[in-house]
């Protein structure tokens, strides 16, 4: 029996019972849809986290105040200072160091106002983040040492505060009432994990400390190593140096913590991969249940059509032809269900990503895997009913009422 005729026969008998065929497919549709949504969201989230971490900079150690993970213990104000950051600069294996502190501020330009984060830092931050200006330039070490009132704006701030201004560089804005001159506009980095990375203003750290928040403390120090292999020894040097400078007793815990982005990245990737496969696994179980539904309905269908099977056998169908016909029916059910499930998963994923900050990533292998899975389900759960049909005795089948 040729494939075209088989496919035609299969679709004909599936269309004869449209509602039932659809309900049978529903199990596969929901199963495949769930697999797609779960895995795609998992993959998207992983990709998002990876992006946002790598946008922080490569081969990066971040030193921040407070010991250990979790909430910072005790009174931990000002455990990292400008002097700490300066001292780190002279450690071996260090490529770039940038101290950072930030505050929220209201910015005004003429009558326009905008609230955003003002980040005081060192000029080295741009090399670490591998970010450039599209207009003007970043501030210099001299701007920092002189506490100059200069600001470098992210794209989002420019759009909202200075719409229509062709060359914002040179304009004067007010940050919390203090006048700053715009000296540069940053290239856009886009948003990651729902965080708009362009909604920010950079000013020299000293300016921030002296004119806005007071004191010589820094929130974090980004330390870039020359290469990935240097990260672990550098971590040791940093720990020794900071413990010495903070005069910590031998038995005392660190009053700072060092985060390794590479390590963080690996951990997060592992975790999200595990999560997405776990969720995918749960979804696969629902697909399996859908497959059992298919087998159930195919068995009913075979019994219902016993007489038809008898007729077909009487006019010359071999057991194999009958088996092929029913197998193709269950395959068609599963494949159409699979395709509809992929569309459902895609649409559902789009809906979720538009309503939340989650990202979605439907890889081609995921689509192929889902279809392959649906096909396997169709073959596996279709075989038993098809075989039951193929082994019928034509005489009994013909006599069936």
């Amino acid at each position: 029996m040729d494939l075209t005729s088989s496919l035609k026969m299969a679709t004909q008998s599936l269309l004869a019972n449209k509602m039932r065929s659809f309900l049978t497919m529903l199990g596969v549709i929901i199963g495949v849809g769930a697999v797609i949504i779960m895995v795609a969201l998992g993959q998207g989230t992983a990709a998002g986290i990876t992006d946002s971490i790598s946008s922080m900079g490569a081969n990066l150690l971040t030193v921040s105040a407070g010991g250990g993970f979790g909430p910072v213990r005790g009174a931990t104000t000002a455990q990292l200072t400008n002097a700490d950051a300066e001292a780190i600069k002279s450690l071996p294996l260090v490529k770039n160091v940038a101290a950072e502190s930030s505050t929220s501020a209201t910015i005004s330009y003429g009558s326009a106002t905008w609230s955003t984060t003002v980040d005081g830092t060192w000029p080295e931050l741009m090399s670490i983040k591998e970010q450039d200006t599209v207009q003007g330039s970043f501030f210099t070490a001299e701007d920092n040492s002189k506490s100059n009132p200069v600001a470098v704006l992210g794209g989002t701030v420019v759009e909202n505060l200075l719409p229509g201004v062709a060359t914002p560089v040179g304009e004067t804005i007010k940050i919390n009432g203090i006048s700053f001159t715009i000296i540069g506009i940053l290239e856009n980095k886009g948003s990651s994990m729902g965080n708009d990375q362009d909604d920010i203003i950079y000013i020299p750290l000293n300016t921030l400390q002296q004119r806005m928040i007071g004191g010589g403390s820094v929130r974090s120090i980004s330390v870039q190593a020359a290469s990935a292999e240097n990260l672990n020894p550098l971590k040791e040097y940093l720990t020794t140096l900071l413990r010495q400078r903070h005069r910590l007793a031998e038995t005392a815990d660190n009053d700072f913590r060092i985060q390794d982005t590479t390590e963080l990245l690996a951990t997060i990737e592992d975790t999200t991969a595990m999560m997405s496969f776990l969720l995918g696994g749960i979804a696969a179980v629902s697909l399996l249940v859908g497959g059992i539904g298919i087998m159930n309905i195919m068995l009913v269908s075979v019994t219902e059509r016993t007489r038809e099977i008898g007729i077909r056998m009487a006019i010359g169908a071999t057991g194999r032809a009958i088996r092929t016909q029913f197998l193709i029916e269950s395959l068609v059910l599963c494949l159409i269900g699979g395709i509809m499930g992929i569309l459902l998963g895609w649409a559902g994923g789009l809906a979720i990503t538009s309503l939340t900050d989650l990202n979605m990533k439907i890889a081609p292998w995921l689509v192929l895997l889902s279809l392959g899975f649906a096909t396997a389900i169709g073959l596996f759960f279709g075989y038993y009913p098809a075989n039951k049909a193929a082994r019928m005795n034509p005489i009994d089948a013909l006599r069936f009422e």
Binding site: D2, S5, A16, E308, M313, I315, G316, G319, P394, I395
Partner: protein
């Protein structure tokens, strides 16, 4: 001397499904020549359906000898029996047994698909030919439920003939039809027998149907009790040869 098509020798068939074994056929021997039109008659339970199943290669006798066109049927397996049915035998049933969701054309072409004719153009050509021969031209796309009983039975006959079989086996072909339509169907079968030399075996309990045949085989309790040639029809048949 006409060529032999069916040769049964000492056929036995017993069914063990019931509490006591049912001896459906006992030592039945029967020869049917090509071009004959034979009625197999008998009351219900006489074994005529079992005999039809044997003749139609739907089942095999327990013991005995069965040659179909010289081919030994006793040693064939399921698939080979299916092949025999596909190539040599066309069935016509009491309640037509058309596939309800398939059109007249698709029903008629079905045996061609199972016989392995891959070209759908070729299948449709032969299906169309058969249907128009049955006087059903223009009704190719009708579903069985859109046709009258007589028309449905003619579609079934077209399906039985489409693969050009040596033998048409009709099981109570007029059982579900009114008298006038029955007569029509019988005349059609008779015409096919006389004009095309088709071998027709009809299982029936209606004497009117039997009267259309040249030969009547009477079965009772699984045994042939009478095998009679009707002289008048024989004369017509021999006049044709």
């Amino acid at each position: 001397m006409a060529e032999n098509l069916i040769k049964l020798r000492d056929i036995d068939k017993t069914y063990y499904g019931a509490a006591t074994p049912v001896h459906a056929l006992r030592s039945v021997s029967l020869d049917i020549d090509k071009g004959e039109m034979v009625a197999i008659m008998g009351p219900s339970g006489s074994g005529k359906s079992t005999l039809m199943n044997m003749l139609g290669c739907l089942d095999k006798p327990d013991t005995g000898e069965y040659l179909f066109a010289g081919q030994d049927v006793m040693n064939l397996d399921r698939d080979q029996l299916a092949h025999m049915r596909s190539i040599f035998i066309g069935f016509v049933f009491q309640n037509f047994n058309l596939i309800g969701r398939a059109t007249a054309m698709e029903n008629v072409c079905l045996p061609l698909i199972y016989a392995g004719i891959k070209s759908s153009r070729e299948r449709e050509k032969r299906g169309r030919q058969m249907l128009s021969m049955m006087g059903l031209a223009g009704r190719e796309q009708h579903l069985p439920k859109q046709l009258s009983g007589g028309q449905q039975q003619r579609v079934a006959i077209a399906r039985a003939l489409v693969n050009d079989p040596g033998l048409v086996l009709a099981d109570e072909p007029t059982g579900a039809l009114d008298t006038r339509t029955s007569e029509e169907i019988m005349l059609l079968l008779k015409k096919l027998n006389q004009e095309r030399g088709l071998t027709v075996v009809i299982i029936t309990h209606e004497p009117e149907v039997g009267n259309h045949c040249q030969r009547i085989v009477q079965l009772t309790d699984g045994q042939i009790v009478m095998d009679q040639s009707l002289v008048m029809d024989m004369a017509i048949a021999s006049g044709m040869h």
